[in-house]
């Protein structure tokens, strides 16, 4: 089975966001970067598919040099090959990322392409299905259960208040959601082995963004709230405030 998993490097979820002087981007000072948590589920699912069906697993990332860390984490979890599609600068939108991933994927003719359902930086939930449409492939995103039997694919996808059970077939694009599996912790041996694995670098074939960030800003600070300190004795006062002042109940 020829498997591709697409991974991205993102600021850790504990990051306190500060805005750069250009007012258009995150100030990277003091930020620690991690493999996108949803991509960990994608890598784990990909490794399990490889363990079951044999074949080769390639991890691909789009980004600057630091994104190699995402590929290395995928190596540690069991990816065989790594690719970095490296643009000249960080001015790229999700369409540009999707277009370049799609071009690369097309050249490799994989059986299955896995993504995390979204990255936790731009939260668009858009790249898996964009790539699928560019490749004219079926896709299922926000998947909490995946079964591949021969070329037949069954996926359970989370929707509001429930699940959709979908049937499709390989080749397919899958976006993984928390709950699909428990990502493995890399052992020392795989961490050591990952250090010497080469990461192939390729140039983007497309750089024309379709959106531009004109401004990045922090949400307006909230005024201080009414915090009652009298414990359970203040319950009726709280309910009064919620009814009469906030008018929410």
């Amino acid at each position: 089975m020829n498997i591709i998993v697409c991974v991205s490097l993102v600021p850790d979820s504990t990051t306190k966001v500060k805005i750069s002087a250009d007012n258009k981007s995150l100030d990277p000072n003091g930020v620690s970067y991690i493999l996108n948590p949803y991509d960990e589920f994608a890598v784990e699912e990909a490794v399990q598919l490889k363990e079951k069906n044999g074949g080769e697993l390639t991890a691909v990332s789009f980004g600057l040099d630091k994104s190699k860390e995402a590929v290395k984490k995928a190596f540690q979890m069991g990816a065989d090959k790594g690719v970095l599609i490296k643009p000249d600068n960080e001015n790229y939108d999700s369409y540009t990322v999707a277009k370049n991933l799609a071009e690369y994927i097309k050249s490799k003719n994989p059986d299955i392409i896995l993504f995390g359902k979204q990255s936790i930086d731009f939260d668009g939930l858009s790249i898996p299905n964009m790539v699928a449409e560019m490749l004219k492939l079926p896709s299922v995103n926000v998947v909490v259960k995946l079964t591949v039997d021969g070329t037949k694919v069954t996926a359970e996808r989370e929707i509001e208040g429930g699940l959709e059970i979908l049937e499709t077939s390989l080749p397919v694009v899958i976006g993984t959601q928390k709950g699909i599996n428990n990502p493995r912790y890399p052992n020392l041996k795989s961490i050591m082995a990952s250090k010497s694995k080469p990461i192939e670098e390729i140039k983007p074939t497309y750089t024309g963004n379709k959106t531009e960030i004109v401004e990045m800003a922090l949400p307006a600070a909230k005024g201080s709230g009414k915090i009652l300190t009298g414990g359970a004795d203040q319950v009726s006062e709280l309910v009064r405030l919620l009814r009469e002042e906030a008018k929410v109940i």
């Binding site: 600021p11 979820s13 504990t14 990051t15 966001v17 805005i19 995150l26 949803y38 369409y95 999707a98 939260d123 668009g124 939930l125 858009s126 299905n129 964009m130 079926p138 896709s139 299922v140 995103n141 359970e156 989370e158 509001e160 208040g161 429930g162 699940l163 959709e164 059970i165 979908l166 049937e167 928390k178 709950g179 963004n209 379709k210 531009e212 960030i213 004109v214 401004e215 990045m216 922090l218 949400p219 909230k222 709230g225 009414k226 915090i227 009652l228 300190t229 009298g230 414990g231 359970a232 203040q234 319950v235 009726s236 709280l238 309910v239 405030l241 919620l242 906030a246 929410v248 109940i249």
Partner: protein, 338 residues
């Protein structure tokens, strides 16, 4: 640049609900600001068609209706409800054949599924999860949260076609006009959808429980580690029941296995903006605050007066959740029954 707006709306259980009204209202507002017109497109069965005039209450004058059964009959399969690729193709082709270049739809599970495909089909700029759309110097600027709401970006668009997904529960349905939108059936054969891939089909929809989903709820009651164990979440459920609320949870208690991951609110869970969010025994880790800080009114109940959750709370009580939650539940039942 002149715009012609298409509002794609979805129904739920064959009726139009709030997400549809939000999209139509915003389309109506933008049409007026851009000095242009808008039309509505929907896909459904006859019951949906019969409900469509109601969209006139929010400013729609014309609703274009695609018959779902006719669409599904193109698949050669008998038993499915929804094909992502078919919906995307219908909307994209309808827009391009009729000159619509600004497409609004809800950022629901369905909307987020089809909008990326529509944007690729139309070679369009796409903004998911918009919370505000403004016109500046004749250009459309769309605001959306990033880093789970820790910051916002304002986006401008480079393409002639634009697709914008509206975050549910943010745009307000605004009454305008009356219950008499014209409903016009779209001839499916005019849409050139013969090459649609119907290979992916929804075989079944499982409703996970009768419970309300946090992503859709107008009121959410969430519990964290302060509840001390999964056996105490009945306190959260009881309060939620008294308020007609959904139950949510912090990452800590989801990772500990106390609550299902579908309840997780935060950066690696759901991002929510209900009108009332009640955080109980949640200290307010930054990744949790990211997921709920855009709630309209935040109430915090925590024994630690220095917990970060109080910094973003509009109201709060410092105290023991085991005493406060039962008392609060009773008090709310009492005022609600009056």
């Amino acid at each position: 640049m002149s715009y012609k707006i298409l509002a794609f709306v979805e129904s739920k259980e064959n009726k139009f609900k709030s997400p549809a009204f939000e999209v139509v209202s915003e389309a109506n507002k933008l049409a007026s600001e851009l000095n242009t017109t808008f039309e509505v497109l929907t896909i459904g069965n006859d019951e949906v068609k019969n409900d469509a005039p109601i969209l006139g209450n929010y400013g729609a004058t014309k609703v274009n209706f695609v018959n779902l059964n006719e669409l599904n009959s193109k698949s050669g399969k008998s038993d499915f409800v929804y094909s992502q690729t078919a919906f995307a193709k219908v909307i994209a082709n309808y827009a391009s054949k009729n000159g619509f270049n600004l497409i609004l739809l809800s950022g629901s599970a369905l909307g987020k599924d089809i909008a990326p495909r529509i944007s690729v089909l139309l070679d369009a700029s796409y903004c998911p999860d918009a919370v505000d759309i403004k016109i500046q110097d004749g250009k459309i600027i769309s605001k959306r949260p990033v880093y789970a709401g820790k910051s916002y970006i304002n986006l401008s668009f480079n393409s002639e076609n634009i697709v914008i997904g509206l975050r549910p529960n943010v745009f307000k349905p605004v009454k305008s006009g009356n219950n008499s939108a014209e409903v016009s059936s779209v001839d499916i054969n005019s849409l050139d959808i013969f090459d649609v891939d119907f290979s992916t089909v929804v075989k079944e929809i499982k409703v996970s429980s009768e419970k309300l989903d946090v992503a859709e709820a107008d009121i959410i009651v969430s519990g964290g580690r302060g509840l001390r164990g999964p056996e105490n979440f009945n306190l959260i459920e009881n309060l939620a029941a008294s308020l007609g609320a959904a139950t949510g949870a912090s990452r800590a208690v989801v990772d500990a296995g106390w609550r299902p991951h579908g309840e997780q609110v935060g950066q690696t869970g759901k991002t929510v903006s209900p009108s009332l969010y009640v955080a109980c025994g949640i200290s307010g880790a930054i990744q949790h605050l990211a997921g709920m800080s855009s709630s309209k009114v935040i109430v915090a109940i925590n024994k630690d007066k220095d917990a970060p959750i109080f910094q973003i709370a509009d109201y709060g009580i410092v105290g023991d959740v085991f005493e406060i939650l039962p008392a609060l539940t009773e008090e709310i039942k009492k005022v609600k029954s009056n």
